[in-house]
Symmetry: C2
Subunit: 344 residues, 2 copies
């Protein structure tokens, strides 16, 4: 029996017309109701680790736009926090932490991970209950985690942004030590994804946001290998777990190898990936890849960009999304225009 | 008769063993002799627009390492300056300028461009004379310019770095106005490349440093079309002009379309581009693509990365280079290690 949830059907290989649609970072600052709640919560962690707040902001964009999926409001840096690395969010800046050069002092006790993550799982349960109560029973609920490589770039640099340099240098100079870092990150990611699925997530997305620019042997070693391990380990604990991978701005050969080797059900494509190529080459469900800047621009450019994507993906298992997170300055009217165009 | 300059022979389609080698940004802060001269010159423009200083720092890395090419010390933002847009370099920060929203007030008088650029051409002539005098007669001399799209990202944002957002938004919202900006930039780039070739450059490189992330129709319109026009216009004035293109971090389909459509003699590949794919697919000379961070790391990782490149490119028309500019913290001993490995 096929699922009542359109997004789940597409992850299982079906094609839907119109395709299911959600937007990365859809619970965010472009929404006045998000900004109001963010102010009330005070700090970032005060919102993300409070199940009432987190569930509410997760539901907000579904309530306003009727997206086909709700993605839990949380952050990829929960995993370093669970491992005992304190992450500080400062207003107007990115997250920061003390850079690490080895895994000494990482908290590897799953009981401690469990207690750190518990508010996240509570938020998922509350979100599912809230969606059902508000008439969004067919809306899929997504969990997520950062991939080990992307998490490692933050841990090595102590800062967010495109700070791959410290991590790449570490990987070149001390491959064994860096492999230990990826291993403990992967263990914690598996733990977290499994429990998100058990708490009611219909699928999970693995964000490898800094997968770009890696020479092919490093991409294989740092992006593909840990993800393959995670997918297998999650499915060993949750048979049939649905997993979306997002090795952002991988090369086309990189996307191809990633899909082939990791076993993800779907791959999320960045803005530059050509959909005609993807449709012919990647043997899985595709997600993406509207330019978030086209969504800020609106008008004819937005209609044309959306139309191009719909045309390229017609009849294929496809989830409409952005190629990267929605930008804060995105007008709400443009999201409405997008949905009108996608849903005819 | 084939050229005495190895790099020229490779640009003409020959394979050389060992391949010619130079490094992007090889005249730079990692060299103590550069830092000494930079301090003496005072400001960035005081160095770049002084032919004595510019020629000297251009020759420095050839004198130290015997690279097969000298690339003129200059900056891609000379073109906006020639067009009357003042660019300020502040120590420790990137360049900045007043952002533009149209081309009103751009200086379109070639006589003014000529007088602005004259010190650059003088520096090229002095560099050639200096190389010949110092026994580097077989060292190729390279000129360069930024591509219109990359220059436009700076002009639209008023700042350097990966600031594509303002330019992409402009391109979506006002395609005609943005096309006018690209046109005047292309005219000035053609002017500048032609005169660099006449001043003694053996070849020129077109840097499209911010070509990544563009949806395929924008890549075609903003990267490929202006470059195709520039290549044709330069060759109309300088028949047989040798041109290297660098659409940095284009997708693999993007590189393929760029090589096919623009007619460049060589394409420079970023760190992530797989050389086996490139060797099979791109019908031109290839340049690249060592990870600059591997060069900082040194040791076995560097030897392995260099070895992989040499193996993949053996017997092909190939110029050994980095996938991006050399980093300031690169140890000189690692450059020596690289050259030893490349030259056997």
């Amino acid at each position: 029996m096929s699922s009542a949830k359109k997004l789940v059907r597409v992850l299982e290989g079906g094609a839907e017309s119109p395709p299911p649609v959600w937007l990365m970072r859809q619970a965010g600052r472009y929404l006045p109701e998000y900004r109001a709640l963010r102010e009330k919560a005070g700090s970032f962690w005060g919102m993300a680790l409070n199940p009432d707040f987190a569930a509410e902001v997760t539901i907000q964009p579904v309530r306003r736009f009727g997206f086909d999926a709700a993605i839990l409001f949380s952050d990829i840096l929960t995993v370093p926090e669970a491992l005992g690395r304190k992450v500080i969010f400062t207003a107007g800046e990115g997250p920061s932490m003390t850079p690490v050069t080895d895994v000494a002092g990482f908290d590897s006790d799953p009981a401690r991970w469990e207690s750190y993550f518990e508010p996240v799982y509570a938020a998922l349960r509350q979100t599912r209950a809230g969606l059902d109560r508000e008439g969004f029973g067919d809306t899929a609920l997504l969990g997520f985690a950062g991939a080990p490589w992307t998490l490692a770039t933050y841990l090595a640099a102590g800062a967010g942004g495109d700070e791959q340099k410290a991590a790449r240098l570490w990987a070149y100079r001390d491959p064994q030590g860096f492999a230990r870092l990826l291993d403990i990150l992967a263990d914690c990611v598996v733990f977290h994804l499994v429990r998100q699925l058990r708490a009611g997530a219909d699928a999970v997305q693995i964000f490898d946001s800094w997968a770009s620019g890696l020479p092919p042997p490093l991409f294989e070693q740092l992006v593909i290998a840990p993800t393959r391990k995670i997918v297998a380990a999650v499915r060993a604990e949750v048979p049939g777990a649905r997993i979306i991978g997002f090795p952002r701005a991988a090369t086309l050969a990189g996307y191809e190898a990633y899909v082939r080797a990791t076993g993800v059900d779907a791959v999320s494509l960045d803005t530059a990936a050509p959909l005609d190529w993807a449709g012919e080459t990647l043997a899985c469900t595709l997600q993406g890849n509207l330019d978030p800047i086209a969504l800020v621009a609106g008008g004819m450019a937005l209609d044309r960009a959306v139309g191009d994507i719909l045309e390229a993906m017609a009849g294929k298992p496809f989830i409409f999304n952005l190629g990267h997170g929605i930008l804060q300055e995105t007008p709400i009217a443009h999201v409405e225009q997008l949905l009108k165009r996608v849903r005819g």
